[in-house]
Amino acid sequence: MAEHKKEIDQVTGIETTGHEWDGLKELNNPLPKWWLYIFYGSIIWSIAYWILMPSWPLVNGYTKGLLNYSQRAVATEEFDVAAAERAKVGEKLMEASLEEIRDTPALLEFAMAQGKVAFGDNCAPCHGTGATGFEGYPNLQDDSWIWGGDLDTLATTISYGVRAEHDETRFAEMPAFGRDELLEKDEIIQVSNYVGSVAGLPVQDGVDLEAGKVIFEENCASCHMENAKGDMETGSPNLTAPTYLYGKSVENIIAQVNAPRHGVMPAWIDRLGETTVKSLAVYVHSLGGGQ
């Protein structure tokens, strides 16, 4: 090997490396030395990198590196900075009244963004991602409300919930007219058909609506009012509303009068804090049904 013959290419006058592939010969055009040095330099760099930075995987974990760099730490730091930045606006939200938030574009944009996220995280499981609710879980998009849909009322409802374990929770319970034998079966059918007629539903044949009306006035009007439009002060639903929480048909009404179901909404104030609750109230209000 030591004494290889030099072969000079005829055309270029350059020495070949002696490598030949299918008649093609490789010329030996030497690379510049600095190229080689850069290669050595990058090897040294990589060793320095291994020592300083997290690099090698181990069985449990990895080599941490002398600089103790961690992308997670950097991300956490950035997160804290962002949180501090947000806290500034949060303070403003704390101070402002709900009306002020709604009327100040910058606060409104912030509250709606925060409220949207909080809604998705906390409220959507029951009320749906679009806030349109399900049977038994109120629709927050439309403009019929049980406890009221203005900003302050919404904030109160979100804070303390409905029939929740909180001293200030909203509470209302309809008597079980059938199960507790407060009304006869016939009377229940009569009053339910009467309510159906007020709500514009097709009623069952041969039912005495006049009798139903009397029963309604004696038993129901104290909460649902004479005109059946309900009372948001006491959380009595409007029976003429386009949708019912537990289904809008005479059969559903009969079932509800017989043995009403009562849903529960948790109190959020202790879990989410005042700022988030405010943002949620503004967000829900902004969906379009707010009063």
Partner: protein
């Protein structure tokens, strides 16, 4: 497969790598040298001083003519202001630059390399400094050979110091494009500037000093992709710095050639003085034909012309010429130069087309913008009065540098429809009652609002009704119309 030669795979063999031979270009005077000086002054002048040009944009916006403001996500170029969503201008500029390079190449080869490339311009400047401090070619060669003494240290030291100063100034000018220049100069001088500013100055000082001072032609020969691309793009009609061998050969020393002529033998004009080689900044002998290492700077033309003048022969033995013409002259035909060829026409057309589109976009650039996104869930909501409600997320964009007022309205909705914007109260100036609302957007920013559209109660609506939002600037009357749909349960 069979080779009589042993492959030289053994490690002792040094020929795999070679030190680059140092090149000592001789200074020349002449036409191309002059052109290069003028271009150098213009380009470097633009680079170093542009950040200091002021351009009034009103009280709220920066008054720097050319500024890339990363913090506020804006780019400024004299009368232009670029928002992040408009960076496609940059794409347009890059396409024009690339095709411009192709066009230059089709006309006269590596015009870019020879005259305009930053690598060439800064290297030229550094050569000039070297020449001023250490003298011309011969003196520099002698200085490098001579042993170290005080004088050599002084000369080398001065040169490197000057190089570093220029390099440092180059890095300094770079960061000025990204912040208010006068303020940043003050901050840099008083040590108050951001760390990243110093870091970038450091990086650019290093690259300028090493690339223009030390790497020089190595950048063009080994690092830059353009020579490879250029070689593949060129054709036989492109002007190139060419040694006219039809006239120069057979070459020979002045006396020899005179003798040959006396003997009735053929003799060329090239007197083999090697001045063209000495002048070349990349160490090329152009008489070997066009080659990758030649950046086509034209300096060998100047060197050769000077010699031709001295020996009383016509200039232009080395000149911008084409392969076609050499062949034609050899055949005794007339020279031609075809500037108009398919490639020059196409390149020009592409540049004109893209420039035209960009110009059109710029002239018709809206100072306001509106984007509308319909709620996806729910698509519509039935109100207790029988109306349907649709919700839309609107984003208004104001590129003016002062607050602007707008009238937002919905069009193509039935009589009795209502538009509401969450958090915005109607004002007396809302022209069309119920379907228009006045909104203001702060200077140079965007505003997101939620709009609610109500159909008239009791009016039957189709499942999907095309409608639109109209945004009118109350002062300028500038109008933006965005089409969308109003959804209802119907078919």
């Amino acid at each position: 497969m069979s080779s009589q030669v042993e492959p030289i795979d053994n490690e002792e063999d040094e020929t795999w790598f070679a030190s680059a031979a140092k090149i000592y270009p001789m200074e020349v005077k002449g036409r191309f040298r002059k052109i290069k000086w003028i271009i150098l002054f213009i380009t470097l002048g633009i680079y170093y001083f542009t950040p200091f040009i002021r351009w009034d944009r009103g009280p709220l916006l920066p008054d720097q003519a050319v500024l890339v403001d990363f913090e506020r996500k804006r780019g400024y170029f004299f009368f232009l202001e670029i928002w992040p969503q408009e960076v496609y201008y940059l794409a347009g500029l890059l396409i024009i630059a690339a095709v411009g390079l192709f066009l230059m190449n089709a006309i006269a080869g590596r015009l870019w390399c020879g005259y305009l490339c930053p690598q060439t311009v800064w290297t030229d400047l550094f050569f000039r400094i070297e020449h001023m401090v250490e003298g011309d070619r011969r003196k520099r060669m002698a200085l490098d050979k001579q042993p170290w003494n005080a004088q050599k240290i002084l000369k080398k030291g001065t040169k490197h110091f000057l190089w570093l100063m220029i390099a440092w100034w180059t890095g300094g000018a770079w960061v000025l494009y990204f912040s208010d220049a006068p303020t940043l100069v003050y901050d840099l001088a008083t040590g108050q500037a951001a760390f990243s500013a110093y870091l970038w100055i450091g990086i650019l000082t290093f690259t300028t000093y090493s690339l223009a001072g030390h790497m020089r032609e190595q950048v063009c020969v080994y690092m830059c992709p353009w020579p490879r691309i250029q070689a593949a793009l060129t054709d036989e009609h492109a002007l190139n710095v060419t040694y006219r061998y039809d006239r120069g050969e057979p070459r020979g020393r002045l006396k020899e050639n005179k003798k040959r002529i006396a003997e009735g033998l053929p003799a060329g004009d090239c007197i083999d003085c090697n001045q063209c080689v000495h002048a070349c900044p990349t160490g090329v002998d152009i008489r070997k034909g066009s080659q990758l290492d030649c950046i086509q700077c034209g300096l060998c033309i100047d060197a050769c012309d000077a010699i031709m003048n001295k020996v009383g022969k016509p200039t232009g033995l080395i000149a911008y010429d084409t392969d076609v013409n050499i062949e034609r002259r050899e055949r005794g035909e007339k020279e031609v130069y075809r500037l108009i060829r398919p490639r020059t026409v196409i390149y020009t057309a592409v540049i004109a087309a893209i420039a035209g589109v960009m110009l059109y976009a710029q002239l018709n650039r809206s100072m306001t913008d509106l984007s509308v996104v319909h709620d996806r869930n729910p698509l519509y909501v039935l109100q207790s009065d029988g109306a349907y409600r649709n919700g839309y997320a609107l984003r208004l964009l104001n590129k003016h540098n002062n607050e602007q007022n707008f009238t937002l309205s919905v069009e193509d909705m039935p009589e009795g429809s209502v538009l509401e914007v969450v958090g915005v109260h109607r004002t007396a100036s809302d022209v069309v009652k119920d379907t228009a609302i006045t909104l203001s957007v702060d200077a140079d920013t965007t505003r997101s609002v939620r709009a609610l559209v109500f159909s008239p109660p009791g009016v039957e609506m189709p499942g999907s009704k095309p409608m639109s939002f109209k945004l009118v600037n109350t002062e300028t009357g500038e109008t933006t119309i965005i089409s969308d749909f109003f959804r209802a349960p119907g078919k």
